[in-house]
Symmetry: C2
Subunit: 309 residues, 2 copies
């Protein structure tokens, strides 16, 4: 099957391409990043266009390799912080790119299924306990707002033009090759030999941690399971909440360090106390999360020590 | 006061420029439409740029005439039908233009107040009775969806960057110079001498009709009344519902015709049965609608007969 991945050079994108290629798909990618042909092939990409998600590049892909059956749309802004520093860049990467992609599909590949990666950031900060897909979104940052707008474009093209779209709201995805965020930060400081590791916040912030290798299996599986409805939104979370303090303790244990963790008690404005998926829809689909958190943390530490040596 | 109007060459834009100029403001405009200097001046515009709402054009305006105190953002898609035929054009006109405007204001004129024209189309089709601003929007068309996304960009820039934004959801605005939609259609057919006038739908569809001269006075007034909150959404409707059948009868009466109206009974898919504003917020502000519907219809007929002769 011919499948395309936008943002294929990103953290989740690279894992997804690997998964899709390993299961026999012909994978082409478009997005930002200089990959030579050998590197692209090594990742599992038959071809790669380093550029915008726009009609010219999509036409080029289609002319050279045929129309896709599925498009995994992972391109977009990748950080709340950057979205606050440069909101228009985040808008362009997340919203405008989606508008161009959907419009191209409407005209050129209306039967192609879209699987779009959204984020739990659409939910905002005021939740306690599992969050169902049906709650009214209330994003706090441009990043979350733009992800919500991306979802709405998908909904609009599904409703008005029959395009089949599945939106997956991803939670706290981690795993090998993630070079930012909490786990990267903690491992970097452990490697530097910090004896007292002070983290922001209270340590009680709850997140729904998911291993990227499970996440890409979920994304690929959602594309296979052709839905009855043309549009659906699904939480891509495990339903298991773990505090930042417990993540830090787990990582330090895997590292084999006796570093002490302290929490500043100062939360970033808008940083949610809890982002935990209601996983009822995923359970209904029958998806099984296979990598326990402890295993994921162990693998992350192993990868970190390996890549850094 | 220096004020800018985007989309100043549109139906509401032209009336708004007239209102603002008449009340002593220095008005500059940007948007689409070829206006020579004399025509622009006649409309009340000190200057006019025929082009995109983008940083280059906004910088040009600012360099030549100084920074604005208020921007009235009226540029955008103008029809549900066009948004279904060419959704990306509607996205570009409504959403992308707003993103560029807000980003420019964030960097260059962060104290400028924004008054953005949205639409009751954000509410969708499933309402009976007055609709409050607080209901969850459920747009049915790309037009309504993109207007909602425009609102969300305003909300995001207000929340994250303190930009002061007032969103006004306009309902069924009509008045002199409106050359499309129901009133234009009926008058055109009366002029052609149709003896039996068949309209789509049931005739019982309820709309909240507002005269454009009242609407622009509302917009101008909202800009003057500097709000406590950085972001607000206000229904720009009268709270008075009138059926399509009654509008048709009123127009025919003003025309002095004995044309008979029939309704096909066939509704356009997604055409709301009722779009009526809950006007509690406007009443709280103390806004008074001055032009009764019968007067508005009479003036429309007078204008129509005059422009057509």
């Amino acid at each position: 099957m011919i499948v395309w991945v936008t943002g294929a050079n990103g953290f989740i994108g690279r894992h997804l391409v690997h998964e899709l290629a390993a299961t026999g798909h012909e994978v082409h990618g478009v997005g930002h990043g200089a990959l030579d042909a050998a590197e692209a092939r090594r990742l599992g990409l038959q071809s790669w266009i380093n550029g915008e998600i726009d009609a010219a590049n999509l036409n080029t892909l289609a002319a050279a390799h045929g129309l896709p059956t599925q498009v995994f749309h992972l391109a977009g802004g990748s950080s709340v912080g950057v979205s606050i520093e440069r909101p228009f860049e985040d808008f362009s990467r997340t919203v405008a790119s989606t508008a161009r992609l959907l419009e191209w599909l409407r005209g050129s590949a209306p039967d192609c299924a879209v699987i779009a990666a959204s984020s739990a950031a659409v939910y905002g900060a005021d939740h306690i306990g599992p969050i169902a897909e049906s709650v009214v979104p209330a994003p706090m940052s441009p990043y979350g707002q733009h992800k919500l707008m991306m979802e709405q474009l998908c909904r609009s093209y599904a409703r008005s033009f029959g395009l089949g779209c599945t939106v997956v709201r991803l939670f706290s995805v981690f795993g090998p090759n993630l070079r930012k965020q909490l786990l990267w930060d903690i491992c970097s400081r452990l490697k530097a030999g910090e004896q007292v590791l002070t983290l922001g916040g209270t340590g009680n912030e709850i997140r729904d941690w998911t291993d990227v290798r499970d996440v890409v299996r979920l994304l690929a599986g959602l594309a296979e399971a052709s839905p009855q409805q043309t549009f659906r939104i699904i939480n891509g979370g495990s339903g298991q909440g773990t505090s930042v303090a417990d993540i830090a303790a787990g990582l330090i244990g895997q590292w084999g360090s006796n570093t002490v963790v302290r929490h500043s008690g100062v939360s970033r404005p808008g940083d949610p106390v809890s982002l935990l998926a209601d996983d009822a829809m995923l359970r209904q689909i029958g998806f099984d999360w296979r990598i326990p958190l402890a295993q994921g943390l162990a693998d992350y530490v192993t990868w970190f020590k390996g890549q850094a040596s």
